[in-house]
Amino acid sequence: MIILHATFLERVFSLWGEKPDEPEVSAAKKPKNKLKHRQAKPVSLCYDAGAEKLSLVLKEIGLGFKVTAKSIRPMVAWLPTIDNQPVPSSRLIGEFPESTTQATLAPWKVTVVQFPFEKGIEFLCRCIGKQTLGPGMIVGKDLSFWTMALRFAGAVATKGQFLPDINDLHGIPQARWRSFLSGLESERLSNLAKLIPAVARALSLKDASSPTVSSITLLSEFIDSAVDYLIRSTGRDDFEHALTAKRRSLKAMDGFYSSHDQWLHALRSHDGRMEGKSAELDQLTNHLKNWIRPISVSAASPFRLCFRVEEPDDGNDKWYVRYLLQANHDPSLLIPAERVWKGREILPLANKNFNSHEYLLLSLGQASGICPHIEASLRTPGPSGYRLDAKGAYEFLTQKASTLEQSGFGVMLPAWWTRKGTKLRLNARAHVKTPEMQSRSGLSLDQIVQFDWEVALGSEKLSFEELQKLAKFKAPLVKVRGQWVLLDAEEIQAVIQSWKKKAMEQTTLREVVRMALGGEKGLGNIPVEGISASGWIANLFKELEGKSPFQELPQPRAFQGTLRPYQRRGYSWLSFLRQWGLGACLADDMGLGKTIQALALIQKDWESGERRPVLLICPTSVVNNWQKEASRFTPEIPVMVHHGIERTKGEAFTAEAKEHAIIISSYALLNRDVETFKDLQWAGVILDEAQNIKNPETKQARAARVIQAGYRIALTGTPVENNVGDLWSIMEFLNAGLLGTQTEFKNRFFIPIQAARDPEASERLKRLTGPFILRRLKTDKTIINDLPEKMEMKVFCTLTKEQASLYEAVVKETMEALDETEGIQRKGVVLATLLKLKQVCNHPAHFLGDHSPIPSRSGKLTRLTEMAEEMVEVGDHALIFTQFSEMGAILQKHLQEIFGREVLFLHGGTPKKHRDQMVERFQAQEDAPFLFILSLKAGGTGLNLTRANHVFHFDRWWNPAVENQATDRAFRIGQKKKVEVHKFICAGTLEEKIDEMIERKKEVAERVIGTGEAWLTELSTAELKNLFSLRKEAIGD
């Protein structure tokens, strides 16, 4: 476990870290170096991660930087300290001192790894948007802050807010790029500086005093350096390429024709170093200063010139563009130009040295090059703006406004212009000729349909002649019945041309659907406002867009159990899209029963005679769960698990698969056996936990797209629709081509939404994908009434190979011992075996007790981690119960390392005071730990933990009453949410068999089983053998 911290000092990236005081720090233990007297020299920080750990992190993430003795440097960090005891950044590192005295800052020696700036940038790139870089490698808040600063630098580079410059670096001239932020951006930068965690400034080059460099200085230096580096990194190859042979030889002679050539070269070189006669460079520097001067004036200005478009009062032709000075710190503070011309008044909040008159003149002069009207207005001594006719206004709104804005001027446009849907413009409508419907089952989206184009202005339909008349209209901006109408002559011409060519078109229904959802532009590249159709096609559109309800199906005849009302709707929805060959993404909240809805669909198809199998791909950890759920809810249909080493391949697989309705397999095998899968005609392919294919480049995502199937379904509990970046891959799997190619998607949606925050692009994306994503939340009003207060679910897990072989070894040993012992001794053997097998099911490290590595060795733990990931996404809280405090410790360590967050753990050894603190923090603290591990004995009774809406029973206690009592920590008065209880069971092991026994005689269970496991010792050897033996299905990959 390491929490990483970073600072940039003098263009060098300094990385250091905190680790827990000792590898096995116990909760109550205090840090070692509590000092009696403050010593003159700083002492090593007890939490210092040290060079070895830092090198390990750098190696792990593959930065390509080797830590050498030269790059390691002891430095002094000024950290909050109470009673001479350092306060760690997180409880993951150590306990906070209990003293109530205020913290003060004190110097502590830490080990810093320094690396060059460019490596630092690469490192930051890897940290963007992450809380951990891998298990146990936690990105500190300061490091997170630097990633934000890097993104800021990226934005500066994107917007081109920088200029070339020359810098004096210890007497050596250096060509550099310097950011020149507009007033608004400077404001943003100082806001960013206010958020900087002090730890980012805590490293000091001198130990005598704490660092005093201001946040804004540090941040500005970083931004400048980062911008400089980003730009520099773009030019090198290009420049080398552009060098003519002549110049290359000149270069070899260490000569440039002029200092200007050298400067341009150095601006694109690695370090920007320049050499040469100082007189010449001085001259260049002077010229540069002169050249940059006007921008410097603007950058130093607390205002910016702003243009406000004022529309005519009564629909006449008199528009006005008014000149105003707009305050950067408060955009609503606007000073009309005439006030500036009139007086020598000092503007509010302006610097005394700020000459608003000169600034306004300069800005207007700069703007006059962009817009001749502005130039013309300057023929008077003090212009306050200029008049425009409708044509001019149109030109200003459509073109000049954005040009002025990009040049750094403010632009204020009428609300009806900037708001969507408040202005009328040309749009296309398609009228689809609905073919006769033969039978509902015979319809498909591949059907060719014919349609006519219609052109409308707003909602008024236009004839061809009317359109031609419009083309002759002089004013492009006309007010009709109180609404502004836009008439773009070029656009009208384009529409006329394409209308002439193809008034009637034909295409597949699939394309028409895409058009109806706004995925394609219409005639002459104008937006498609609507598709009119009649009959069944009209119904289809309405159903797709959710304007009319789709047909709700009855529950399949042989489906066991009862679908809840929302589940029936979900299953009907799946069936509706399925019928049209459209892919569907069911993204219901965890616990709403996505599995059941998918199974209902398969059952329904089975009942209506479908005999082609469905391929179901899920994470290895839930293969068993699917199998169990299928046998419980749809026992009639044959299920085959394609898993493990002994799985069939090729023709044998095909033959076997044809005999089954569902083939369950994992993502790993989807990729490995894709050739086998490809050969089959699948009724459908279903991806469970479909976020597994969110990255379209991964092998499993490619494989998923290759499989041919009648329908495609993706199930996921994570809110896919919120994550634009992940959406393409899942939608491409479901409905290939709907969102265009990956590059098209990036340009049309991803960049506009993520970078430009374009609400229209989000709206378009939502409209286009909405019909294919169904996400219901547990908190939805329509859902919440359908749910019971408490839902109990069994989570069937698989054993890893290691677990299985350990399990079998224990069983073998026991069988031999059982034959040789009797009486008390035999009882002892049985109980010991039970304990060992439960430990193996939990985790090999639990059984071996050897502190060996944790990840990827336990099926249960893998599943728990996956479920916790979903919970993090939606902000849920959970209790995790285990009977074993050893296992609790393993869980705590693992979950903390994976999530980089504190996980609470309450066990028998927890002192009362800590116990109360934990409960209080979990219940009340704003950013409380989201997971709380409790040992069943210590935490199963008495506590009130209603913050949790999930309860996990990681291992089973044979007495349901004890489990229920534990569950009631969350499910009790004060609980406002529905509680979900997840009981983990390793399928095929004794855990499942005991569960079956309990289920079989639930009512007698409590009486028979009592409170312990002693009754098991009474079983006969044959019964025990049966109980202990491992079923084949238990093993995962």
């Binding site: 630098a153 990226g154 580079a157 070339p164 005093t212 207007l364 001594p381 925050r757």
Partner: protein
């Protein structure tokens, strides 16, 4: 000895018209044809050409294009320059121009402030088209008209004045005036800043307190570290919409373009062309970094 002879030989051959190669001299932007596009640059050249010095004009032009002029300094009422001729030591050149009196300038300022465009254009670095009209209105002239308004001198042995070296400087000045028309005013005795303040009607006292261009508004005061534990370690979280809209601008290199071409540019490549290329690439790299793409470097 051979060295001396070669040198002597070359020197002898070059003597007539070929000057010594000058490294890093000021090279004219104009590669052929006239110097300066603007009317005021042309008016300036016209003054030179009115002196009727024959072939020296052409040689002056080629000196200016080859970078023989090593330096130019412009002061109120005079220009000092060094030109590399055929002798090892550069020649010294001096141009003296008659300055206008303060009251003349006041008169001008009054007329100029009648239209904002004059000040705006001048601040922008452009000479308003009708400025000469304004001068005439005030009964003055922008460019020297009478021979006694302009005195030139060169340390070369040529008997003609102006000589080709003076001509070369003259041509380069035309380009320089094109970039910064305030230099013409400076030659006529008026600083840029003083003129601006005259135009905006601010009095003499405020002229002293004029805006000093700052590189950046960096408050350099010291700032201690907080000892509040949560603020120290966690800082504060960023609002969701912190970055606002980030788009690739439709015009690359808008900032350098707003500033115009670089003064006395002597580079082989055209400055704004190179800038445009760099800015376009910076935009695409910047956006990738902004969006957190790790592989931005590989994709350049």
């Amino acid at each position: 000895m051979g060295y001396w002879r070669d040198d002597y030989f070359l020197w002898g051959r070059r003597r007539s018209s070929v000057p010594r190669e000058a490294k890093g001299g000021i090279k004219a932007q104009s590669k052929h044809g006239t110097f300066g596009e603007s009317w005021w640059a042309k008016r300036w050249i016209a003054v030179l050409e009115s002196f009727n010095i024959g072939a020296r004009l052409g040689r002056g032009r080629s000196y200016a294009r080859r970078g023989q002029v090593l330096s130019i300094e412009i002061e109120k009422g005079e220009v000092l320059a060094k030109v590399q001729g055929s002798r090892p030591k550069p020649y010294h050149i001096k141009l003296e121009i008659k300055t206008l009196s303060v009251s003349d300038w006041r008169k001008l300022a009054k007329i100029l402030s009648g239209q904002a465009i004059f000040s705006a254009k001048l601040l922008m670095g452009e000479m308003p088209l009708d400025i000469e009209k304004v001068f005439r209105e005030a009964g003055l002239s922008l460019f020297p008209e009478k021979p006694k308004d302009l005195k030139t001198a060169c340390s070369c042995p040529d008997w003609s004045n102006p000589c080709k070296h003076i001509a070369a400087v003259y041509y380069l000045l035309a380009e320089e005036f094109e970039r910064d028309p305030f230099l013409i005013f400076k030659l006529r005795g008026m600083n840029r800043e003083d003129l601006i303040h005259m135009l905006s009607g601010t009095d003499k006292k405020t002229i002293r307190k004029q805006v000093k261009p700052k590189q950046k508004t960096l408050p350099n005061e010291e700032e201690g570290l907080t000892s509040d534990i949560s603020k120290f370690w966690n800082g504060e979280s960023l609002p969701d919409d912190f970055f606002g809209e980030v788009r690739i601008p439709s015009i690359a290199a808008a900032l350098p373009k707003r500033l115009g071409s670089f003064p006395f540019w002597r580079g082989e490549e055209k400055f704004l062309d190179v800038m445009e290329l760099i800015y376009a690439k910076a935009s695409s790299v910047g956006l990738k970094v902004f969006l957190g793409e790790q592989m931005w470097k590989e994709q350049i």
